[in-house]
């Protein structure tokens, strides 16, 4: 670099400061969740919690556990459903010749742009008629509207890069499309399948709009709807709400730590190369 300017270690300090400012809301959530009701409403708020009050979490977990389980079921189911539908389609789009393949890709791109609110309105009425309200499978289907188009495009971006020679060799050996798909494509695509699965999970876990309309019975409600209901009901128990917010954020945090590489890759390949 031609300009000396700042030392590299100074850049690290500035970078850390940027992160502190950006993540301050998250930090504030965690500290607030560990405070008692008196501490949280003190005239001078504590920057660092004086003493951890795990009681908040005990109560939050007691009320939110069924909803966390609900969310887990819905997000897992959505992930499985989405990967089952999206993976073969991505393979077909990238390697099997279809005449109208461009139309399918355009349809997938457009479907990502349709506002969920517009779909939600009609799907509520339709699901009501066919008995898919208050049904986990129904909600998984609606949650797939985020992830199936998105994931087909991510998977396709990767599968296009698989050399045709490998596939051709398999065909010459007499393997059909199905066997090529299972024995060659799937093992090679492991990392991108993880990425796709992560996004499907996170989208479904974070969904609120479909959940709040499709699930009306309290016992089925996923965590997002439960937090929303909690806010309107107990608007002053901020520590409880923050503890629930932390609990609901755990999957996002865990996935970020475990697989940040995949997440960045997915964010860029799902949109730019789409």
């Amino acid at each position: 670099m031609p300009r000396q300017g700042l030392r590299r270690s100074h850049l690290t300090i500035i970078g850390a400061l940027i992160v502190c400012v950006m993540l301050f809301p998250v930090y504030w959530t965690v500290t607030s969740s560990l405070e008692t009701n008196t501490q949280i409403f003190a005239t001078h708020p504590y920057l660092i919690t004086p003493q951890f009050d795990w009681q908040t979490y005990r109560i939050a977990l007691q009320t939110q556990l069924p909803h966390l389980v609900s969310s887990l079921i819905i997000a897992t189911g959505t992930t499985v459903l989405c990967v089952l539908v999206a993976t073969p389609a991505a393979y077909a789009i990238s390697h099997l010749q279809f005449k109208k393949v461009t139309w399918l890709i355009v349809a997938l791109l457009i479907s990502q742009m349709i506002p969920s609110v517009s779909l939600d309105n009609a799907l509520f009425i339709i699901f009501n008629k066919i008995g898919l309200l208050n049904n986990y499978f129904g909600l998984m289907l609606t949650d797939c509207t985020f992830s199936i188009p998105f994931n087909i495009l991510i998977l396709r971006a990767f599968m296009q890069s698989i050399p045709k020679d490998i596939l051709e060799a398999a065909y010459v050996d007499g393997a059909g499309d199905l066997r090529t798909f299972i024995q060659i494509i799937l093992p090679v695509s492991k990392s991108v399948l993880i990425t796709a699965g992560l996004f499907a999970f996170l989208f479904a876990w974070g969904d609120f709009l479909f959940s709040v309309t499709m699930i009306t019975q309290n016992s089925f409600q996923p965590i997002t709807v439960s937090i929303y209901g909690y806010i309107s009901q107990y608007s002053q128990s901020w520590n409880q709400m923050m503890a629930s917010a932390v609990l609901a954020s755990i999957p996002a945090a865990v996935l970020l730590i475990l697989s940040q590489r995949y997440i960045t890759a997915g964010m860029t390949s799902g949109s730019v190369k789409g």
Partner: protein, 314 residues
């Protein structure tokens, strides 16, 4: 296009191999179709059908009674006419416009600045950059809840900090004052969007060869000149995609506003998405909610057209 040629060569080979057995070729075509069949069914059932259904509903007086009886009286364009006669129509449209422009402007500027900063090589650069992704991954309901607490008038930390710094003298009712509610939700949405823009810009910046910077600095260009004459022109395709995606994403935002203000106070933070929801699920006039939903689809498709044309070109 070279890829297409390659595929046709490969397929040509395969076709010649299986030529003698026509029945097999047919079987293979069916198997191939089965690969995309689930997706086609899904798109038809979860996108095409609901959109058509929504269009029909928007022409009906669809209420709770309709849900019970299963039929709704056809009213033609009455829902749309009524909507356009409401002062809320122009208010929600303006709010949406302000929300979209305010969000995107700051997301893009801050995201770009951060991408430029984290492009430089220093210890822990990747680690710090990864941490910044967190806001984008949190469930939006959680984000909304967090900011509702931060913006709280009497106990929120934002007012506390601003008062301590003597920037303000009395606590601001961020979410309950008609002048501030929309600004508050815009700030929240900016926070959510920054990481996404940063990641896309960052990957765009990596594509720019270092030699270009070296050459321009030999020519005596300073950092700012490099940014204007090297970075911006080469980043234009990425910038266009970011702008388009941010636009489409921001039009869809619902959760944040619903949890923070519910569109209030007095509809000052009501945007089209929250309004459509309110019409359907709180006022129970599903026909009108569908009509607003359709207006949103038209707006989104309008911008998708430019996005598609752009991605096709590049």
């Amino acid at each position: 296009m070279s890829q297409n040629n390659l595929t046709s060569v490969v397929v040509g080979n395969r076709a010649s191999i299986s030529k003698p057995r026509l029945g097999l070729a047919r079987k293979r075509a069916i198997i191939r179709f089965l690969f995309i069949l689930p997706t086609l069914i899904f798109l038809a059932a979860m996108f095409v059908f609901p959109i058509i259904y929504n269009m029909i509903m928007s022409l009906e007086n669809y209420t709770t009674i309709s849900i019970a009886t299963g039929n709704a009286p056809f009213v033609g364009l009455q829902n749309y006419i009524q909507l356009f006669q409401m002062p809320l129509m122009s208010q929600a449209t303006w709010n949406t416009l302000e929300f979209v422009i305010g969000s995107i402007l700051f997301q893009v500027i801050i995201g770009m600045a951060m991408a430029l900063f984290f492009k430089r090589d220093f210890p822990f650069s990747t680690f710090l950059r990864t941490l910044i992704l967190l806001p984008w991954l949190l469930p939006l309901i959680v984000t909304g809840t967090i900011f509702k607490w931060i913006f709280d008038q009497s106990h929120g930390v934002l007012n506390y900090i601003l008062m301590q710094l003597h920037i303000i003298h009395a606590p601001i009712g961020w979410l309950i004052s008609p002048n501030m509610a929309l600004i508050s939700v815009i700030i929240t949405n900016i926070w959510v969007g920054i990481p996404f823009d940063m990641v896309l810009f960052h990957s765009g910046l990596q594509q720019i060869p270092d030699e270009l910077y070296e050459a321009s600095s030999l020519d005596g260009a300073n950092r700012w000149q490099q940014f204007i004459h090297v970075t911006i022109p080469l980043l234009r395709p990425v910038l266009a995609i970011v702008l388009m995606l941010a636009l489409i994403y921001t039009l869809k935002v619902f959760d944040i506003i619903q949890v923070m203000t519910g569109g209030g106070p007095a509809n000052t933070s009501q945007i089209l998405s929250t309004w459509s929801y309110t019409l359907s699920f709180q006022d129970m006039s599903f026909g009108q909610g569908a009509a607003v939903g359709n207006i949103m689809i038209v707006i989104s498709l309008f911008f998708s057209y430019f996005y598609l044309r752009f991605t096709k070109e590049s």
